[in-house]
């Protein structure tokens, strides 16, 4: 039985539609990530689930109970806010226990749960401090503790890490993931950061313009994006796109674009590939770069390019190169890196090539 169920939910502010016909099941114990850019509707969906935003159309069920019209306090959810929403006039201990006190939980039970959360989140030394005496990461942990002690049916996270610096963000990401796996509480997590989504989510929902683009496990989104938006959104550095045409010549198929004539599809059945204009997508790490020596007569299969920038990141390096009018990016871990201005030959791993007709990806090609 799904723990959270959205049934054709829409949200409109006046004439503006923010969320359009959103249907989704969140399984019991799952960590589901809603990811998208600003204006994608992800936060609105979360706020509708919390009861902070009214639903224009459709129903929301939590644990098989229709909560669409219920106020937030009757939904048995706990939320961690982007700016934490800690009560500034209360100590950490009071922040953790207020929700339980409001619900008239017994004193001994409150103490037990506060002690449990404080132990899990290493908050014991901070219990008598006020929020403004804590660092960002500590405030974040208090906010999580406040959600935990309630032992709710669902955790809601609204971009909880975006106020932290990069190092702390990575660390808290690991903590949140670990905590969720231990507690096995159904969690809906909103972020604009696809790295956060990929590393945390059991499943990810990619949103754009208030509509679901794709739902799937992180690796599915990465390997088989259904459209160009998802392909470009998931993965860093992002996928390269080249607009061009597919043409058949003597039974073999090649992709042509300005300065590129690439017979990459000879092993595929010609009938699978539509003729006409397509977009080729290739991830930076699905390319191999070879420096062309003066004496070599050039590869037969590959793109010819000229290096415009090399970013050395240590383990991997990003090579920006021009192939015809196209600026592309390859991520390589070669020891022998080309220099700016070098002519290079780039091999595309043909089993990793994505083809898009219009916006949709033609899945049969892969």
């Amino acid at each position: 039985m799904p723990s959270v169920h959205f049934d054709h939910v829409s949200k409109r502010f006046g004439a503006t539609t923010v969320v359009e016909d959103f249907s989704l099941d969140v399984e019991d114990g799952e960590l589901l990530v809603l990811v998208g850019g600003s204006g994608s509707g992800k936060t609105t969906i979360l706020r509708m689930l919390a009861g902070l935003e009214e639903v224009t159309e459709g129903t929301i069920r939590i644990d098989d109970r229709d909560v669409t019209a219920l106020p937030p306090r009757d939904r048995d959810v706990a939320m961690v806010f982007q700016d934490y929403g800690l009560y500034p006039h209360m100590t950490v201990r009071e922040n953790l226990s207020l929700g339980l006190r409001l619900r008239k939980v017994a004193r001994t039970e409150i103490d037990r749960r506060v002690a449990w959360a404080a132990d899990m989140l290493r908050l014991e030394p901070l219990l008598d401090r006020k929020p403004k005496q804590l660092s960002g990461g500590q405030q974040q942990r208090v906010a999580m503790g406040r959600a935990m002690v309630r032992e709710p049916l669902v955790f809601l996270f609204d971009e909880p890490l975006s106020n932290l610096d990069a190092g702390l963000r990575a660390q808290m990401r690991i903590e949140i993931g670990g905590l969720q796996r231990r507690l096995m509480t159904t969690t809906v997590y909103v972020t604009h950061d696809q790295v956060e989504a990929m590393t945390l989510g059991d499943r990810i929902v990619v949103l754009a313009d208030g509509r679901i683009q794709q739902i799937g496990k992180p690796i599915e989104l990465y390997r088989s994006p259904v459209n160009r938006f998802v392909a470009g959104f998931v993965g860093t550095p992002p996928m390269n796109f080249v607009d061009g045409n597919v043409a058949q010549k003597n039974g073999s198929i090649s992709f042509t674009s300005d300065g590129i004539d690439f017979p990459f599809l000879s092993e595929r059945r010609a009938s699978d590939v539509p003729s006409g204009s397509v977009t080729l997508g290739i991830r930076p790490e699905d390319m191999t770069v070879d420096v062309l020596d003066a004496q070599s007569d050039g590869p037969t299969r590959g793109l010819q390019g000229r290096v415009v920038l090399v970013e050395r990141l240590g383990g991997t390096s990003h090579i920006h190169f021009d192939a015809g009018p196209h600026r592309l990016l390859a991520a390589v871990s070669n020891d022998r890196l080309p220099e700016v201005g070098d002519a290079i030959s780039v091999r595309l791993h043909s089993e990793r090539i994505h083809l898009f007709v219009g916006d949709r990806r033609i899945s049969s090609v892969i």
Binding site: P72, V77, P88
Partner: protein, 287 residues
């Protein structure tokens, strides 16, 4: 560095001059007057501690002190409660919100004498609007300003009405400072409307409450124009405030030295009361 200091002093000079003429000089002059007998016409005579001695045993003065404290004991709670309630109401999405905010602020900028005359008419026993309404719903008319037991409460209610807009502004600013996420967090945590107010809004408005208490205390001690216009201190001297007594001594009896002594005593009383208030409610100020 020295040029900088000189230009700094120069820029502060106009205000310093203003302060010297209208604050420092009167304060010093009042302190000197405490030890003089002076009727504004003849040469002042040195009187030692005579004024202080007389004041300590002046039943009318202590009656005025008592009256002023009665006024404050009604005015302060009423002022805080009404300002807070109005601010909460005006902080919600409301039709014509700007109009309401302006309407409640309007009495603040109207002259106190005008308000006093207006309210004298509202309170009038036979022809007043308030008694008219009471009679219409079947109640007996109340002699608001002529009954010793209702005169001061009636004045306190009127002063509260006149100043409420000012304190509403202070509370509104405080309300807008409460983060949205805090309000939503406590809502999700299960708070009822009353619990939200009790555990979040009220404690987070503590700095504003301290300000409102301090300002309305200082203002309240200076109660003058309302009893002066509406009751002349009566009935039975029940609305005789400290400042009204000071004014009477200064400009009716021409006892400038004695009036200055009352003024200094008033300043000491205000200082003490505000200090005690701060001690009591300031404990929780460590937000």
């Amino acid at each position: 560095m020295r040029a900088e200091r000189r230009s700094g002093s120069l820029m502060a000079a106009p205000y310093a001059a203003f302060l010297a003429v209208f604050a420092l000089y009167p304060i010093l002059f009042a302190l000197v007057l405490v030890f003089l007998k002076w009727d504004l016409v003849t040469t002042p005579v040195f009187a030692g501690f005579d004024n202080v001695r007389v004041l300590a045993n002046d039943g009318r003065f202590w009656r005025a002190v008592e009256n002023t404290f009665v006024f404050l004991s009604i005015h302060l709670p009423l002022q805080i409660a009404s300002a807070l309630a109005l601010a909460l109401a005006l902080n919600r999405p409301l039709m014509f919100r700007s109009f309401w905010r302006a309407a409640f602020f309007l009495p603040v900028v109207i002259s106190g004498a005008v308000v006093a005359i207006l309210w004298s008419n509202l309170y009038a026993t036979d022809v007043g609007l308030i008694n008219g309404l009471l009679v219409r719903v079947g109640l007996n008319p109340v002699p608001w300003l002529t009954d010793p037991s209702t005169a001061m409460p009636a004045i306190a209610a009127m002063v509260t009405w006149k100043n409420v807009g000012f304190y509403v502004i202070i509370y509104l600013a405080g309300l807008q400072y409460i983060p949205r996420s805090c309000k939503e967090a406590i809502e999700i945590e299960g708070a009822t409307t009353w619990q939200r107010f009790r555990y979040l809004t009220l404690p987070m408005l503590l700095p504003q409450t301290i300000l409102v208490v301090t300002l309305s205390t200082i203002n309240g001690f200076q109660l003058f124009i309302e009893p002066y216009v509406m009751t002349g201190g009566g009935p039975l001297r029940r609305t005789y405030s400290i400042v009204l007594y000071l004014y009477t001594n200064a400009f009716a009896y021409q006892k400038m030295g004695y009036a200055a002594t009352i003024g200094v005593a008033l300043a000491l009383i205000i200082g003490t009361v505000v200090l005690i208030q701060r001690r009591v409610i300031g404990k929780a100020e460590a937000l």
